[in-house]
Structure formats: structure tokens, C-alpha cells
């Protein structure tokens, strides 16, 4: 028996632009195994970001079911979705999305604050920063960090609540190849050591090939899967 952390059934996202319907996702059935690392590929406009948003509980599907870690997400209200994002999902964005006025520590702490955790936040945040190799940059602000370091802070922030999945949308897209490789190594090692399920959206075949499974999207549909050698 398989242990799915993500199950989707006939997932659809349809945007109505006046008369025109855009079927950004058009019936996606997808199961992702707990602890695996998966990449999603496809041409621009194929629905990768839309799928990410749905899987990350940022948005609700027009139709279909989404079960995350055994919880039905598709019918949740805004506050329930916010709580789901806080506890079950960690995001890593292409453009880091750190609060520029806050220190690395405060940035990493933020999900704990919204989670209503009052005790031991600082300690947890420092541990998370240690685990991404930034234990000595705790009080730095994003402007005082390199791109690679900023993305590490973002990864520490994604990790802090021990989420069921980490969603990474082009996590190396804004980085030079050297720091891009370091970030990819970090993500892979997190998957290995912490058994966190990781979903990476990428254009880059060399990144996709480091994952266990590649899902190909086209026109809002899953058109193929491959397991890299």
C-alpha cells in the first residue's frame, strides 16, 4: 500500500476572461508519495504555477478534489487554507520573497508567529538557520546577504514548521550556476535527511533529472511521467 502525501482527483482550474475560458488546469490526477522529491516540467503557460498554487493551498480548484496529508483541502475556507499553508506547506520562491527590513532570524521566525507559537521561537529559528548553514548570519538583513544565502534563509523559513511538503517554484532561477547548484544540493539533502516531500517546478532538465520523478504538464494536463536514470 502506498503512502500518498498528495492526492488529486480531476483537479481543474478554469479562469473566465469574459467570454473566453482559460483551462489552466484541465483534470489533473496526481499522487505523490510521502518523502519523495518530484519535479514538474512543461512549456510556459502549461499550468505549472497554477498547479503549484493549488498544491500549496494558495488557491482553490474550480473543480476536483485535493487531499493533502489526508486532509481534504478543496473545500476549505480562507482561514483554514491559511492554517494549512502555515502548518503543512513550505514555500520557496524564485525571487526569495524575504521581508527586507527584517533580519534573517525574524524572517525565519515569521511562520511561527502566524502559527500562534509563543515559546522557543528564536531557538527553533536559529536551529533552522543552522541546518541551512547560516548559523553565523542570524542578524543579517536580506540586503546584506548574497542571492544564494537569501534563498537559504527562505528554505529555513519553509522548514521551520516541519511541513508535509515544500513547494519550490524555480528555486534556482534567480541564482548563478554555482549557488544554484548549492541550493539544489541543499534541497536534495533536506529530502534525504529530513524525509520532507519536495516538489520543484523547473525549466531546467539538469535540475529535474536530480529528482526521483518528473511530471510533464502540457495545456493543463499531465501528459507524461519519467523516472530519471
Amino acid at each position: 500500500m502506498n503512502d500518498w502525501v498528495i492526492e488529486t482527483r480531476n483537479l481543474k482550474k478554469i479562469y473566465k476572461m469574459g467570454e473566453v475560458e482559460v483551462r489552466a488546469l484541465d483534470g489533473v490526477d496526481l499522487n505523490i508519495e510521502r518523502g519523495s522529491i518530484v519535479s514538474i516540467m512543461g512549456p510556459s503557460g502549461s499550468g505549472k504555477s497554477t498547479l503549484m498554487n493549488l498544491l500549496g493551498c494558495l488557491d482553490r480548484p474550480t473543480e476536483g478534489d485535493y487531499i493533502l496529508d489526508g486532509v481534504q483541502v478543496s473545500q476549505m475556507n480562507d482561514d483554514q487554507l491559511a492554517a494549512a499553508r502555515n502548518h503543512m506547506v513550505g514555500f520557496v520562491f524564485q525571487s526569495f520573497n524575504l521581508l527586507s527590513r527584517q533580519t534573517a532570524l525574524a524572517n525565519v521566525e515569521l511562520p511561527l508567529r502566524y502559527g500562534g507559537i509563543t515559546k522557543g521561537r528564536k531557538q527553533k529559528a536559529i536551529e533552522a538557520l543552522n541546518s541551512v548553514g547560516l548559523g553565523d548570519r542570524v542578524t543579517h538583513r536580506p540586503t546584506e546577504l548574497s542571492g544564494g544565502q537569501q534563498q537559504r534563509v527562505a528554505i529555513a523559513r519553509a522548514l521551520i514548521n516541519d511541513p508535509a511538503i515544500i513547494m519550490a517554484d524555480e528555486p534556482t532561477g534567480n541564482l548563478d550556476s554555482k549557488s544554484g547548484k548549492e541550493i539544489m544540493d541543499l534541497i536534495l539533502s533536506l529530502n534525504k535527511t529530513r524525509k520532507t516531500t519536495i516538489i520543484i517546478v523547473t525549466h531546467d532538465q539538469s535540475i529535474a533529472s536530480q529528482t526521483q520523478r518528473i511530471i510533464n504538464l502540457s495545456d493543463g494536463k499531465v501528459v507524461g511521467e519519467e523516472v530519471p536514470a
Binding site: 499553508r85 520573497n97 521581508l99 527590513r101 502559527g115
Partner: protein, 407 residues
């Protein structure tokens, strides 16, 4: 997130845009300062006016000519009326009666010239108005009978014409060119409800009437009546009314005179100054409203600028409520700081107004009441909350996906 963290974050964010926050606060500061200063000056003026009226004495009645609006051709009050009121058989509650006429005329002494209030009175006036003398004597019965050219002067007149206040008995000053001999100097009274009570020259009623203030047929401006005791004021008023109704042959319910007690004056003055205070405060409140619109404006800009940040916060678990609280905290803090600084500024303005008034010999002590401070604090914070609601709601209702896509 709890309120403490929300406040700290809001302070950080306001601190990051010092100039902008400062200017927004300034709008509220001006509004609150205006409200505080206006209320302070208004209630200070009220205190001064009611205080000086109260100084008249609670057993005093003023009798004026003229009734309510539908009474046509009211007859003037005359010395005859005054004498009738002074009759102890007709008006047993009346102690003293003092007819009064007055006009502003020029007073000169060896080249110096000023304008003063010339009061034509009888000897009773001294006691009725509670005057006392620095030196010399008041107008006497002989002065009245002989239409004497004598004057009792206030200290302001003494200061301005002679440069000193003593040794003036026997000096001769001129009123409208006519010589008057100084027989007394009044003790200073300060400013009052009826202007400076020190810039006056008191002369015999008969002299004033025949030579300076020519009123036809024994007319007087008003009659001052001292009642035997304060609790007989209503009774005395009734007695006076009866006498005047008979003498003026007025129709029933159509009195052509009015009688005011000290309480009547206080009540009238209070209602006037209340209207004044509300009017001034209202105008000031408009500027507070403008300050509030400034807050709304800047918060809207801030929400637009921070759309991505809002998206990110939502992505990591912020609920609508969290975002709402965050922005409302910022707008309330802006207006609260504005309120506190505004109270300080308004207080200073009121204080300065008091100093200026004092320098101009007007007794006006602005009063910054606790009620005004509370009102300003609550009102300004409410303004911040109210004008913050729309921008904060806008932020809270942003869709995370849209917000994150925002450039």
C-alpha cells in the same frame, strides 16, 4: 500574532518611512492641536466672562429698556422710574437704586488725550457696584444737586493721563473740552465682561445729562438695583415690574423693559460661549478629518507598495485578520502619535494665547480640561482606525496568488 508583536512590527514599518510617517502624523497633530487650543480658549473665555459677571454680586438686578420683539415703541427708562423703584413703600425688597448713563468721550490733560467710558451716576453707584477708592471721595449728593464739574477716575485713566495714581486730587482734566476737577481715584478692577473697568471716568449723573451725554427727558441707559438680600431677588424683580408696568401703562404681557439678574447674565453668556466653543471646535475638527484622510491616503499607498509582502505573509500562514490588524495598528499608531503631539502643541498654543491676552490686559486663562484631552485622544485614534479600515480591508482581502504575482 499578538498585539505586542503587531505594534513592534508596525513601529518598524513606520520607522522605515520616517518622512512619510512624519508628514502623515503632522496632519493629525495640526488637527488635534487646533481642537485642543480652540476648546481651551473657548472654555477660558467662558470662565473669564462668567467669573466677571459673578463678580457683580448675586443681589444685583439690571433694568433695561425694551421688551421682547413684538413690543413696539418701548418707552425709555427715566430717572423718574429709578426714583419710583427706590420708594421703599412700592418696592420694599429694594435696597439701593442707581441710574446710569454712559458714553465714550475724549478725555485730555495737558496735551495727553484718551478715549474713556464716561459714566453718569448717583452716589449709590459706589455701593451698588462695590467700588472702592484709592484716594479721595466719590460723587456726593451735593455734586448731583449742583451739577458739579467733578470726576472720579479709573487707574488706567490716571496712568495714561498723569503717569501716576496718587496725588491727583484737585487736578483738572477736560472731557470733550470741558474742565472737570478730579475728586477721587478708583481701586483697580481689571478687565471684565464689560470691557476694562479701569478706563472709566465717573461724573455726577446730572452733570453728564445736562452737559455731556444729552439724553432727552431724563433718560437713563439702565438702572442698577441692589436687592436687600440675594434670596429676595425674584420678589424685588416682581416689585420693579409692577412699578414700571404702572408707570409705562403697558398692556398685559407686553412689558417694555427687561430685568436681568446675575444668573440671567451668566446663563446668557454661557450659552453664547458654548456656541462659540462648539463652533471653534467644529472648525478645528474639520482639520482633524483632513488629517484622517491623509492617513487613509498614505495607507492606501503603503498597501499597494507592499502587495507582494502581503502575498508572502499570506503564503506562510497569515490570515485575513492578521493582515487587517497589521495595517490597522499602523494607522492607529500614526493617529495616536499625532494625537499625543497635538495635545502638547494645542496646550502650548492655548498657553501662548493666554500670555498674549495677559499682555493685553485681558484676563483669559485657557483651560485644557481632561475631557478635552480624552476627547482628542479618542477622536484621533478613532480617526486613524476609521480611515485605516478601508486600506486595511483592501490588504486583508488580497488574494495570495494575485498578491505574490504583483511587481
Amino acid at each position: 500574532m499578538n498585539i505586542g508583536q503587531a505594534v513592534i512590527e508596525a513601529l518598524e514599518s513606520l520607522n522605515a518611512n520616517k518622512m512619510r510617517s512624519g508628514l502623515t502624523i503632522l496632519g493629525i497633530v495640526i488637527g488635534v492641536a487646533a481642537v485642543i487650543a480652540m476648546l481651551a480658549v473657548g472654555s477660558g473665555a467662558q470662565n473669564t466672562i462668567t467669573g466677571s459677571i459673578s463678580g457683580l454680586g448675586s443681589n444685583l438686578l439690571f433694568v433695561f429698556r425694551g421688551g421682547n420683539d413684538d413690543v413696539r415703541n418701548p418707552q425709555p427708562l427715566t430717572r423718574g422710574d429709578a426714583e419710583a423703584i427706590a420708594d421703599p413703600f412700592q418696592a420694599p425688597s429694594v435696597a439701593l437704586v442707581a441710574p446710569y448713563i454712559s458714553s465714550n468721550l475724549s478725555v485730555t490733560f495737558s496735551g495727553e488725550s484718551i478715549n474713556s467710558s464716561i459714566n453718569g451716576v448717583t452716589p449709590e453707584y459706589l455701593e451698588v457696584r462695590n467700588y472702592s477708592l484709592l484716594e479721595g471721595d466719590f460723587i456726593s449728593e451735593e455734586n448731583i444737586l449742583g451739577r458739579g464739574s467733578v470726576a472720579v477716575i479709573g487707574v488706567e485713566v490716571a496712568d495714561k493721563l498723569f503717569g501716576h495714581r496718587d496725588g491727583l486730587i484737585g487736578e483738572t482734566l477736560r472731557i470733550e473740552g470741558q474742565p472737570f476737577r478730579v475728586i477721587g481715584v478708583l481701586t483697580p478692577r481689571g478687565g471684565g465682561a464689560f470691557g476694562s473697568e479701569d478706563n472709566i471716568v465717573v461724573i455726577p449723573f446730572s452733570t453728564a445729562q445736562s452737559r455731556l451725554i444729552r439724553r432727552s427727558s431724563d433718560r437713563v441707559d439702565f438702572i442698577l438695583v441692589q436687592v436687600i438680600s440675594a434670596d429676595l431677588v425674584n420678589q424685588a424683580s416682581e416689585e420693579i415690574s409692577q412699578i414700571l408696568r404702572a408707570r409705562h401703562r403697558t398692556d398685559l404681557g407686553a412689558d417694555d423693559f427687561q430685568i436681568f439678574s446675575q444668573q440671567d447674565f451668566v446663563a446668557t453668556a454661557q450659552s453664547i460661549t458654548n456656541v462659540l466653543t462648539i463652533f471653534l471646535g467644529g472648525i478645528a475638527a474639520i482639520s482633524l478629518l483632513v488629517g484622517g484622510i491623509g492617513i487613509m491616503n498614505i495607507m492606501l499607498v503603503s498597501v499597494t507598495e507592499r502587495t507582494r509582502e502581503i502575498g508572502l505573509r499570506k503564503a506562510i500562514g497569515a490570515r485575513k485578520r492578521d493582515i487587517l490588524v497589521q495595517f490597522l495598528t499602523e494607522s492607529s499608531l500614526l493617529s495616536m502619535f499625532g494625537g499625543i503631539l497635538g495635545i502638547g502643541l494645542g496646550w502650548s498654543i492655548a498657553y501662548i494665547v493666554g500670555l498674549i491676552a495677559a499682555a493685553n490686559n485681558t484676563e483669559l486663562i485657557p483651560v485644557v480640561g481632561l475631557d478635552a484631552i480624552l476627547l482628542a485622544t479618542i477622536f484621533s485614534t478613532a480617526v486613524g482606525l476609521f480611515f485605516g479600515i478601508y486600506p486595511a480591508n483592501r490588504a486583508a482581502n488580497l488574494q495570495p496568488v494575485e498578491a505574490l504575482r504583483h511587481e
